[in-house]
């Protein structure tokens, strides 16, 4: 059961964003192509489709490596991830000249909500998956 623990951690990590991206891409695509939503979403689709799941997987591998030294709970470890993903997402949006309407006005609320959502998802879902895969 202890074979390839980092591969297991990666798989447990990418589970949630891989499921969420199905919903997100479906919603965005319907909005864009069925309702002619006037924003070039396809420009930035690479971020939720590729960057986010991979970072989740790598972040869970990092948890496996660092937990014995930091003793940080998995919830707090996960809550730190938006501090990396947020600026990366903003950078990509800026580089590709993509704007979310009224983004700056919702940014403070979004920051708090993202931290809380990540905390809950990592504490309950990723932790459960780590247990099922025998790495926690």
């Amino acid at each position: 059961m202890n074979r390839h623990p980092y591969l297991r951690a990666y798989m447990a990590g990418i589970f949630v964003p891989t499921l969420v991206v199905l919903v997100g891409v479906a919603v965005f695509s319907i909005a864009r192509y069925a309702y002619n939503f006037p924003a070039p979403i396809e420009r930035v689709m690479i971020f939720p489709m590729a960057v986010v799941p991979n970072l989740w997987g790598l972040w869970n591998m990092l948890f496996l490596v660092s937990h014995s030294k930091t003793h940080l709970s998995i919830g707090w470890h996960g809550a730190l991830l938006p501090l990396l993903l947020g600026p990366l997402g903003l950078l990509l949006m800026h580089a590709l000249d993509f704007q979310i309407p009224q983004f700056l006005s919702i940014l403070p609320v979004l920051g708090v909500v993202a931290l809380a959502a990540y905390y809950l998802v990592w504490k309950y879902v990723v932790s459960f998956l780590n247990g099922v895969l025998g790495i926690a």
Binding site: V52, I100, A117, K123, F128
Partner: protein, 74 residues
């Protein structure tokens, strides 16, 4: 390459690539997976985490603009 060489090459390739003897699994792995999931019951949710989840829901209702941004970062 002549036809003869091509045939020889094909035969060599067929012989060198070992065909898998058991292309299908011997047993269904899904029941084993279900057993493993049952062995790890979900962690009971603490009251403050319920409160946090309720606050998240309220924030999404009050500021619906954060939903696409949240989906973008998930």
């Amino acid at each position: 390459m002549s036809d003869l060489n091509e045939k020889e090459m094909r035969e060599l390739l067929k012989r060198s690539v070992d065909p898998s003897e058991k292309p299908e699994l011997e047993r269904d792995l899904w029941p084993q997976m279900l057993q493993r999931i049952d062995r790890h019951p979900a962690t009971p949710v603490a009251w403050f985490d319920w409160a946090l989840a309720a606050l998240l829901g309220a924030a999404c209702l009050l500021f619906p603009g954060i939903i696409p941004a949240l989906l973008y970062h998930f």
